[in-house]
Amino acid sequence: MHKLLNDAPGEEIFLLGNDAIARGAIEAGVAFASTYPGTPSSEISLALYQVSQESDLYFEYSTNEKVALEVASAAANCGLRTMCMMKHVGLNVAADPLMTLAYVGVTGGLVILTADDPAMFSSQNEQDNRYYAKLAGLPMLEPSSVAEAKEMTAHAFELSEKLKTPVLLRTTTRINHSSGVVTLGKLPRPKTKGAFKKDPFNLVTVPAVSRRLHVSLLEKLERALILSEESDYNRIEGNGPWGVVCNGVGYSYVADAIQDLNISDQTSVLRVGFSHPLPEKRIKAFLKGCEKVLVVEEGEPVLEEGIKALAQEAGLTLTIRGKAPDLFSRLYEYDPAEVRQHLGTYFGVAVPAPAKVDLSGVPEIPQRPPNLCAGCSHRATFYAVKQAAKAVETIYPTDIGCYTLGLLPPLSMADFLICMGSSVSSSCGFAQATDSKVISFIGDSTFFHSGITGLVNAVFNNHNLTLVILDNGTTAMTGHQPNPGVEMAAHGRGTAHRRVSIESVVRGVGVEHVTVIKPYKVKKSIAAIQAALDFEGVSVIISEETCTLYARGLKQLKKKAFRVSDRCVNHRDCINEIACPAFYLHGERPQINANACVGCALCAQICPENAILPLKSSA
C-alpha cells in the first residue's frame, strides 16, 4: 500500500512537503488530477500518480499546463474534486484558461497548485505568482510549513466549493522540498464519477455571458474577503508595538528571529496565509496597534503594497517598510540570519554577532555546475552537430530540459532560451533576421509541450532552419515522468495509453527533410546532420537514445565500461571536447572511472589515437 493511503487518522508521520500536499488532497477526497511536471512541484504529481495506481483517483500527465488546466476545468465542472499542479512558470502557460475559468467557476472543488522557485534552484525566472491571484481574481492560500501545507490543501477544496471558484495554492521550493511531521487525517471515499449539467449561458464565454460572469466573479471575491477576514490562516501572534507582517516560509524565519532576539514582548506578528483577498479589516486593526511595521516576504512587495494602501485608507501614518536597499531584497530567497539581522536593525535591537569565521588561507574551491551525466546521449548529439556545422556561422537556440546544460563549456551549444518551446519559434525569427545557420535543440517532452506549434509555424512560413529533437524517451530533468512519445506498456506503466510518434508528427505537419539518428554512432550522425544543414527549408533531426539514468533505473542498461590504454598520448579530446564526467586526471593522464562509465563509446570514437578501449580488452 502506498504510504499516502495509510488510513490511520491521528498517526504522525514524516513527509516531504510535496507528499504532504498530495496527502492533503487525498484527505479532501480528490478524484481527478492533472499536471505537467516541473520542479519544485514534481513530487506531488509522482505521489498522486502512484496513488492512482492503487485507488479510484484519475491522474494524468497532460501535454502541457494549459492542457492540464483545461482538462481539470471540465472535471471540476462535472462536480469532481480536482487538483492541477504546476511550477510557477507553468502557470504562464495555463494563464489563458486560468483567467476565464475564474469567470466560469467550478462546481467541484478545484485547487490549482503553483510552486514558485525563489532563487531559481531549477527555473528560468523567479516570478512571484501571488500576482496571479490578483490578476485572475482568485482566492490564494500560502502555507508556512509542511504540516500546514497538508491542512491548507484540504481546506482549499472546501473553500473552492464554498465560493464555486478555483483556488490557487502557492508554495515555494523550501516548502515543497522540506520534510516535517504531519498528523494524518481521515481518508474519505471520494465521488469519482461526475455529471455535467448543461448551462451554456453561464459556461460558454461569449461577450454577453462574460459581462455577467465578471460581475459574479467580483461578488465571489466579496464573499472570499469575508472568509479571509475570518480565516485562522490570517492570524496575529503577540501584542507588542513592533509589527511584523509575513507569509510563507518567511514566517518561520521571523518566529526564530523574535526568539533569538528575545523581543516577543515587544512584537506582534501578522502571518498572512489566506493572502488574496487580503483581510482588510484585520490588517487595519493590526496596524492601529503598531508603532512601526516591517513586512517580510520573499519576492515582490505584494503584501507591502497592499498594506500601505490599507494604511492610507485608514488614515494611518506609521512607518511601513519591507523592500529597500537597506532592508529586504526582491531578489532570491531569504536566509534566516538575514531576517534576524533586518528585524534587529529595524527595531533597534542588538543582534548577537554571528560566529566569526576566518576565511583566510583557504584555497579557492573550484565551482561545480551541474553537467550532463556520464554517457548522456545529448553529449553525443551536441558533439555531432558541432562537427557537422564546423564550417558555418551558427546560432543555437535551445530549450528547457537536461540538454540546457549544453550551455556550459566545452560543449557550448546554447545561444538563446526564454521558455518552454522557444527553441523552435525563436529559430524562425533568427533564421529570418540573420544569415546564420540556425540549429535548435528541443527534448521529446518539451516538443510535445509547446514545440509542435512552433514547428508548424516554421513549415507554414517556410523558414530555413534545422531542428534537432533530442528524444531520450522520458521527461528526464524533472524525474523521468512519461510523455506522449513514450511506449508506456514497455516501461511497465500499463496499457491505458497510446504512443504518439514524434517522427509521424514531424512528417505530418509537412517537414520534408526528416532523419532519425542514433547519436552514439558518431560518423553516421555527423553525415546525417550535414545533409540536414544542406537542406534549404525546415529540416528535422530526431536523435533517439534512452536517457542513461532512466535506462539504469529500468535495469535496461548493460554497462560495458571503457578504459584509457597505453596508446594515449594525452591529446585530451575526451576531456577538452566532450567533458564526460567519467573522466578524471590521474597525474597528467586522463583515466576513466569504471563505476561512472556506461560504455556509450563516444570518447572511443573521437580519440585521435584510438586509445580508449573496452575495459575487458587486452590491447
Binding site: R174, V181, S252, D335, P336, N371, T478
Partner: protein, 188 residues
C-alpha cells in the same frame, strides 16, 4: 531542547538525499523532533547537492543560519571544503568520505584540486574537528554514504540516535539486496 544542525553536501548522484533521509528518520525514531530540506531538480545532474537537517525543532525552518552547522557531512573532498566554508561553526565537526570527483575546472587544468592537507589545514584554522573516512575494502562507490553513516554512529556525531534507530531508518528506506549489503556494511 537544544537545536543540533546538520549540513550535508555532496555531488549530485552520490546519495546525499538518501543519507539525509536516513539520519532524519533515525532522529524521528529516537524521539527527537526534526525538520529537513533537500535539493531536487537540475542540480542533481552532477552539481552540488545540499541537505539540511535541524534536530530539536518541530515546526521552524530547516534552513541553518549561516555558519551554525554543528556537523557538516560530505561525501567528497571539494564539497567538504565547500561545506566547511559555507556552513560549519567553529567548534563543530566535519566528517567526509575522502574521495575526489574532480570538478570540470580541475580536469581541464583551470583550477587546482583540493588536497586532504588543504582541508585539514582549513579545519584547524577554523577550529573545526575533522573526521576523514576512507575504507580501502569498500568496492562499491555507491556505499560511501553508508560508510560515512557508520562512522557517524560509531563516533556518536549526532546526539541521541542509537544503532537501533539507524537500522530502523535503513529498513524504512531500503529493500532487498541494497538493504542487506548496507546493513552488513553498517554492522561489520
Amino acid at each position: 531542547m537544544t537545536t543540533f544542525n546538520i549540513y550535508l553536501i555532496g555531488v549530485g548522484g552520490q546519495g546525499i538525499g538518501l543519507l539525509s533521509e536516513i539520519i532524519l528518520r533515525a532522529a524521528d525514531h529516537s524521539g527527537q523532533s526534526a525538520v529537513a530540506v533537500d535539493t531536487h531538480g537540475l542540480a542533481q545532474r552532477g552539481g552540488v547537492v545540499v541537505s539540511q537537517i535541524r534536530l530539536g525543532i518541530a515546526a521552524g525552518t530547516p534552513l541553518i543560519p549561516g555558519h551554525q552547522a554543528d556537523l557538516v557531512v560530505s561525501l567528497e573532498r571539494h564539497e567538504a571544503m565547500r561545506g566547511l566554508d559555507s556552513a560549519a561553526r567553529p567548534g563543530g565537526t566535519l566528517i567526509y568520505y575522502d574521495t575526489v570527483w574532480q570538478p570540470l575546472g580541475v580536469r581541464t587544468g583551470e583550477a587546482a584540486e583540493i588536497s586532504a592537507e588543504d582541508l585539514a589545514a582549513a579545519c584547524q584554522e577554523r577550529q573545526v574537528r575533522l573526521v576523514s573516512v576512507h575504507d580501502p575494502d569498500l568496492t562499491d562507490a555507491r556505499q560511501q554514504n553508508m560508510r560515512v553513516l557508520k562512522t557517524i554512529h560509531q563516533e556518536g556525531l549526532v546526539p541521541g540516535i542509537s544503532q537501533a534507530d539507524y537500522l530502523q531508518a535503513m529498513d524504512d528506506l531500503m529493500t532487498g539486496g541494497m538493504l542487506a549489503s548496507n546493513r552488513k556494511l553498517f554492522l561489520d
